[in-house]
Symmetry: C2
Subunit: 116 residues, 2 copies
């Protein structure tokens, strides 16, 4: 891994995952496969239409997800992870594992300082 600012690419990966709803959107698409806009909206409590559209566009621009429009009334738009997008899965998984362990780690620290 190169640490020089111009050669370090950690930020590039980070930038794609960062966004209030991006991880959860990706996890839904990874787990459930192709989903309609309304499916995602229903599955993600609290998200607004604006933000869902916004985050989906950004992921689409990076070629992480695919958007398919069916020209019909009422409209139907399906989203799915691209083959390329799947390459992010190990990273998401590693972060989930680490995060889960981190919760435990913090609890321990808490207890240690309590019992002083």
């Amino acid at each position: 891994m190169n640490i020089e600012p111009d050669l370090c690419r950690v930020e590039d990966a980070l930038g794609i995952l960062v966004g209030k709803w991006k991880p959860i959107i990706l996890l839904h698409l990874l787990k459930n496969g192709t989903q309609r806009f309304s499916d995602l909206k229903r599955s993600i409590p609290g998200i607004t239409q604006k933000m869902l559209t916004n985050q989906l566009r950004e992921l689409e621009n990076e070629d992480i997800i695919q958007r398919v429009v069916y020209p019909q009334v009422p409209p139907k738009v399906e989203y799915s992870i691209t083959e390329y997008g799947r390459s992010l899965e190990p990273i998401l998984h590693a972060m989930h594992e680490w995060g889960t362990n981190h919760i435990q780690h913090k609890k321990q620290k808490m207890n240690e300082s309590m019992s002083k």
Copy 2:
């Protein structure tokens, strides 16, 4: 990996890495070991004292780095990665690899759309 909002811990890991200078700080400490405040400041072009202090504090609060103050004049403060903090290294490494590949992927997409 659990996808339920309350059980998904991707955000927890992400939150620790997110911050304009956190990845670069961590990479410096991982690569070079213990560093003084002024060492880090010099190694990271563009960072201000305020932000360096700020980001170091946040990492310290999560037990990722350790801060040691030598009570002397002029002051001397050393920062280093904790044992626990090292558990983030695989994730940073994976993100760097992915990011490096992503640059290539984007170039390909560029060329494809150019030659149409």
